[in-house]
């Protein structure tokens, strides 16, 4: 398979200034040396708890954040160094949809204008063509043409998320980063949006990077899944293999922690002790060792590398 996008040694450090007059700077290591590939036409899920760096990674792919170091190669070309017109040209290829449907639409623009804006800015159509495209896009995402002149506040959460999807589709992107697209929605609405994303993927041959903390949602939509913890990718593999046979102790704990809507299935749960450590001062060695039940001496000293364990499955743990 061909990789549409390749992330190589991606890092993002946010500086935190402190100290008196002489500036001693500390860094929040939000994303710390992450590499993975996204293949054409697939959905790669990215899961992890808050602060693990999954959203930061997503924003770097769309060029909303500049990486501290590392490369993001889209169709072989490093996009992190693009500037000006080239950058604008590139933006068409990767779009993003956001978590909060109430915050991601400009409240002072009509839905039609919101969807038309990317078409106009990128000069994808002129005059009446723009309007035609807008109506077509509304139709794709399951909205009616009379919605065109409405304002975002007149819509429900699910409908707003549809508008966000239409805006992303407007520039014919190849890859869409879905940043927690259904986390803020009710269960019944969540299913509608997930099915819509699925339909659109088939219709437009889209590739998704699907970022979420809900493991059940990620499993449902993804072909492959990556698990992040404190800025590191700890495990990545085919969705079925990863869910049926999780290798990393963190993935295991995460999977066992999901409540399953079936009272008949009483499972043995792994309850992790303690909180996620501060990314300002991550533990030495394996970042998970402070909460790990299989922690060994080596874990406290040496950072494990992401190792291939066969069947497209890679894990960063000294156990393997």
């Amino acid at each position: 398979m061909e990789a549409l996008l390749e992330v190589v040694n991606l890092k993002k450090y946010f500086p935190v200034e402190s100290g008196f007059l002489k500036k001693s700077v500390e860094y929040v290591k939000a994303v710390d040396d992450v590499s993975f590939k996204i293949y054409r036409g697939e959905t790669l899920g990215l899961v992890g708890e808050s602060g693990c760096g999954k959203s930061t990674t997503g924003r770097m792919l769309v060029n909303l954040l500049k990486p501290t170091s590392g490369e993001v190669r889209f169709e072989g070309k490093d996009i992190t160094k693009l500037k000006g017109a080239e950058e604008r040209e590139f933006r068409k290829n990767i779009q993003i949809i956001f978590q909060d449907p109430y915050a991601s639409l400009n409240p002072r623009m009509t839905v039609g204008d919101i969807i038309a804006e990317p078409i106009k800015i990128n000069r994808l159509a002129k005059g009446e063509e723009v309007e035609k495209r807008v109506l077509k896009l509304l139709e794709y995402v399951g909205l009616a043409s009379y919605h065109r002149n409405r304002y975002p506040h007149e819509f429900s959460g699910g409908q707003r998320q549809r508008v966000g999807i239409a805006r992303a589709l407007a520039v014919n992107p190849k890859l869409i980063v879905c940043d927690e697209p259904v986390s803020a929605l009710d269960v019944s609405i969540q299913a509608q949006v997930l099915n819509l994303l699925d339909d659109l993927q088939k219709e437009f041959k889209l590739t998704y990077l699907f970022i979420a903390h809900g493991l059940n949602v990620v499993k449902h939509v993804s072909d492959r899944v990556g698990v992040m913890y404190l800025g590191k990718l700890v495990e990545i593999g085919d969705a079925d293999s990863l869910y049926d046979n999780p290798l990393h102790p963190y993935t295991k704990a995460l999977l066992s922690a999901i409540p399953v809507p079936d009272p008949a299935k009483k499972r043995e749960r792994i309850i992790l002790s303690g909180d996620v450590p501060s990314p300002l001062n991550p533990p030495e060695g394996c970042r998970f060792h402070t909460r790990c039940q299989s922690c060994m001496e080596i874990c406290k000293k040496k950072e494990p590398e992401l190792k291939d364990v066969g069947q497209n499955h890679r894990v960063a743990c000294h156990l393997y």
Binding site: R59, V62, N63, L64, R88, R91, K92, Q95, I96, F98, Q99, D100, Y102, A103, S104, L105, N106, P107, R108, T110, E117, P118, I121, N122, A144, Y146, H147, N149, R150, Y151, H153, E154, F155, S156, G157, Q159, G164, R167, A170, V171
Partner: protein, 297 residues
């Protein structure tokens, strides 16, 4: 409360009419009686300022010394001042100066404040630091004191009063604009605007500024009242508009020597100032309630 979001849920089928955010605010504002009273007074004041010369029974600037300090009567409904001029005519004449200074000073300060504040807030870093340091220096003075200092240096007159008052209020607007921009800059719709290829100016003017205008408009409306109060204070101290030109504050200042025996000489100009300032305050408060969904019920 979980009800709030559901309030906005629209029925499939489009029964309800489309309402733009601005139209919502207006319908909200119309319901606010105090704001409407304020707005009506403002409209009346503007009419007086424009057509006042047809209402004045006497020439505001020439008096009959023999008729000085007369109590209110049918001939002079607000009485006469120390030079025998008709106070009613002078108050009408003073309306246009107060409004002109108040509105122009705010307009200048607002424009400058939006420019400084947007750049500081959007770009951050060094630009932010330099702009805000400059603002800090202006803010290091109590505003009236700084206005007095400017006036004493620039000399007297209406244009100079406008300049003095606008300079001292720029930092206030710059701060509000900067703060609002910082609060919406990280919003997802701004991120989305960036992701679809907008440039900085497009983001600032199309996506950020329209969404931060509410507190700025409110502040500007209330700022007009402050500016009118400061104009009158400068006039009272003898620094503002120069005689014989009628200005409410300087009328008070000039009448100060006579008010033991003729309190009407200070009573009416003061009432005029209070009503004008009150009108802008009422309207500004109403605007704030209409624009701030948190306070909306």
């Amino acid at each position: 409360m979980e009800l709030n979001r559901e309030e906005n849920v629209m029925l499939e089928g489009g029964v309800e009419k489309t309402s733009s955010p601005w139209r919502n605010i207006w319908s909200e504002l119309v319901k606010n009686k105090a704001a409407m009273v304020g707005l009506s007074i403002i409209v009346i004041l503007i009419l007086i300022a424009l057509f006042g010369k047809y209402l004045m029974p006497y020439d505001p600037n020439t008096g009959v010394l023999a008729e000085s300090l007369q109590k209110p009567s049918s001939a002079h409904i607000f009485g006469t001042d120390e030079q025998g001029r008709d106070i009613f005519s002078r108050i009408i004449d003073g309306t246009k100066i107060s409004l002109r200074v108040g509105i122009t000073a705010v307009a200048i300060a607002l424009t400058a404040g939006i420019i400084f504040g947007s750049f500081a807030g959007y770009y951050g870093g060094k630009i932010d630091m330099y702009i805000m340091r400059l603002m800090d220096i202006i803010l290091a003075f109590p505003s009236l004191l700084l206005a007095i200092a400017f006036m004493s240096a620039l000399g007297k007159g209406i244009d100079k009063a406008i300049i003095a008052i606008s300079i001292v209020t720029i930092p206030e607007y710059a701060r509000i604009v900067r703060g609002s921009i910082l609060s919406v800059k990280e919003n997802e719709y701004v991120q989305a605007a960036k992701a679809i290829g907008n440039n900085d100016m497009g983001i600032i003017f199309k996506h950020i500024l329209p969404n931060v205008m509410s507190p700025i408009i409110v502040r500007a409306t209330l700022g007009i009242s402050t500016a009118i109060l400061e104009t009158s204070a400068l006039g009272f101290l003898g620094l503002g508009i120069q005689p014989p030109q009628a200005e409410w504050g300087s009328m008070l200042g000039a009448g100060r020597g006579y008010f033991y025996n003729a309190p009407h000489i200070v009573l009416f100009p003061g009432i005029a100032i209070t009503i004008t300032v009150l009108a802008f305050n009422l309207f500004g408060d109403g605007l704030r309630d209409a624009l701030d969904p948190k306070l909306r019920k």
